[in-house]
Amino acid sequence: MGNPFVEGRVLSPPSTILVIFGASGDLTGRKLVPGCYNLFKDGYLPESFSIVGVSRTPLSDEAFREKLKDGVTKYSRSGIDEEWWKQFSSRIFYQPLDATKEADFIALRERLQRIGGDTIPNYLYYLAVSPSLFGEIAGKLKGADLIETPGGVRETRLIVEKPFGYDLETAQNLASSLYQSAKEEQLYRIDHYLGKETVQNILVFRFANGLFEPIWNRKYVDHIQISVAEDIGVENRGDYFDKAGIVRDFVQNHVFQMLSLLCIEPPNSLSDAEGIRNEKVKVLKSIKRLTPGLVQKHIVRAQYGKGLIKGLDVPAYRDEKGVAKDSTTETYIAMSLEIDNWRWSGVPIFLRVGKRLSKRISEISVHFKQAPLSLFRGRQVESLEQNVLRIQVQPKEGISLRVNSKPPGPRMRVEPVEMDFSYHSSFGIASPEAYERLLLDAMRGEATLFTRQDEIEEAWKILEPVFDSFEELPLYFYEAGSWGPKEAAELLKPYGVRWARL
């Protein structure tokens, strides 16, 4: 019998040891450990929770803790508190390990057993290392009996970071290398966009308000825009990025994930991870495939030149460290898509994603069809604005709805006003960092917000014809700090639409 009291309980995860591969790396210091610290402070972590960091760099537990303390001080959303840090850091350990050496994994196993003591904690492995090591690490973990079959004495799960392949074939290869040691249900592919409160709120917003779901379809929606803008360039990832480009780095994962959540059919239940993921895959499958001939009409790709960001001159992409001088990698993409199903057929969906744009902002906007003007004929009302639902994911999480309203005064005028909801002002608490939510979910074995392999593969399938035609597509240039190439505006013209102001 299942626990009859389980429903509605905020599940504190079972006791867990989080093993972080890539412990000396950037992600660990900047996101993972600060995230865990906040979870610990907010009382979400189980009593017996520890972190074991592993990487090749030789470090003592003490030295590792000191290093992490800097990261927490700098990146924790709540800052750092000495007393809390003392309690938290006593649960952090470091184990030197080279992913290519079997003996190191045996040593890791012994260390984990010692830390676990009399208890049998679950093991959650976070692979914050290059994907080329994923298969190897999983294999060696398995070899050292550190991965168990699901439902055994302890749960063992692996969290993996993007990139999930370079194209369909490499994504499949990556998965098969992992499948040799772990089952799909043990794999948690993280997409931090899905950990954002607003993204999770899409489902609640749609399905908990009688107002929106009835109009969430082709009859009422004019078009949809998804924009992901960053003001940073490639930072110190020039090497990686130059091989990948923005489509692989952002569209294939974050953007398609947001799109599929936005457009899914109602699942059976919001607590059924497989149900939700099945529906998401269906959306991706319904996206009309671009044939190579059509790509030209639907896609604008571009690269940033030099310009100005936050008042500072910044170099052109081709002058960034690690980037080829004649690189034709895109740092910006604008595309139009259509979901060819009963709900969405005929509704254009516009995506634009870029680096070194005017500011950092990610936003989804649903533009509803216009009301007829006829009522206002003869009044000084010459146009009505569309109702727009805007879901801002970054940097501030919030939702706003634009409605037309009459400004005070004797005359009949119409002015658009925003009905705003921001997390900050409505709930008075800062939204937790995306990684916090996702780490907690993975400890609980809650997979809804993680990406399944078939979603990854569908996303690559959509993009295949795009990559195939890349050579023939013109590469435009835009100034860093601008909103991208002017050709992106042209893409929308045939639809009588403009990009939303961000």
Binding site: D231, G307, L308, I309, K310, G311, L312, S358, K359, I361, E363, Q380, V381, E382, S383, V388, R390, Q392, K396, S400, R402, P407, P408, G409, R413, E415, P416, V417, E418, D420, S422, S425, G428, E479, G481, S482, W483, A500, R501, L502
Partner: protein
Amino acid sequence: MKEALDKLASIEGQESWVLPTRNVIGFGSEEEVFDALISVRPIRFIKVSEGAELSYSVVERCHKIGTEVICSEYVTIIGPWHKVSLSVRALLFPGKKTWGITLDKNITGGFFDEIAPLCDTLIFDSELTKDVPAGAVIDLNWMRLAPIREELRYLTDMAISHDKNSKIIGVKVYDSAPSSWLMAGWICNKLKVEPESGKKVANGVSVKSKEFTLDLVESNDTRILLEFKGKDAKIGQLTVGEGLITLEYSHEARKRVYLKRSRKELCLEYDAFGAPTGSYNESVKLGREILEYAS
């Protein structure tokens, strides 16, 4: 620069921070107008001007209205126009409409090339300049002329109540303001006449179309004469002076208060942030045609 951006972030992070209702980009030295704008509702105000080096500053300006405190962010950006423009883009509050306000005589140059394209609507004053910037504009002068337009309607009502067949066949606009052409354009637009010929006359210009003449005369007083054709030809006159509009038709005279509104007052009116109207654009077009006959 970094300090300014941190300051903005800290303002946005405050518990009590209210989302700005609109973005306004100001250019020129009308501090009084800008101050008034940020005191009535929370806006993100960005004042731009040209300079050799790029620099930003941010202050929070709060005003108490009744029991409510309204705070706006007042950002100043000085620098080469193109750099200013890139910086402004990053600071516009997303999803909100953006207005530009320039009360400068010169409507060409950096502001118009670099900043105006970022604005949904541009507020300017054609009293200061004969040129009208391209795109969607709100002309404060147009708003200023609104009471005169209203009274001209009234004067015509009077004529029609005397003789329902009366028809306007001649108009004389006497004005010292450089913007009388706009009034003349509006009259032509409303009468649905398109000037077919025209010539320069002493102190002005005279245009004609079938059975209609309009004279635009530079003068020290502001007066509009309407010449009606009907059972017996009549003249209606509208005079503006000392804060009053006076209407005369036949032997009736009527006085009305003319609200001489300052730029500040005009900017605070709702219409200043409304949508541009089609009749304004038509009036500009016809007004310009009339002016062309003068040169």
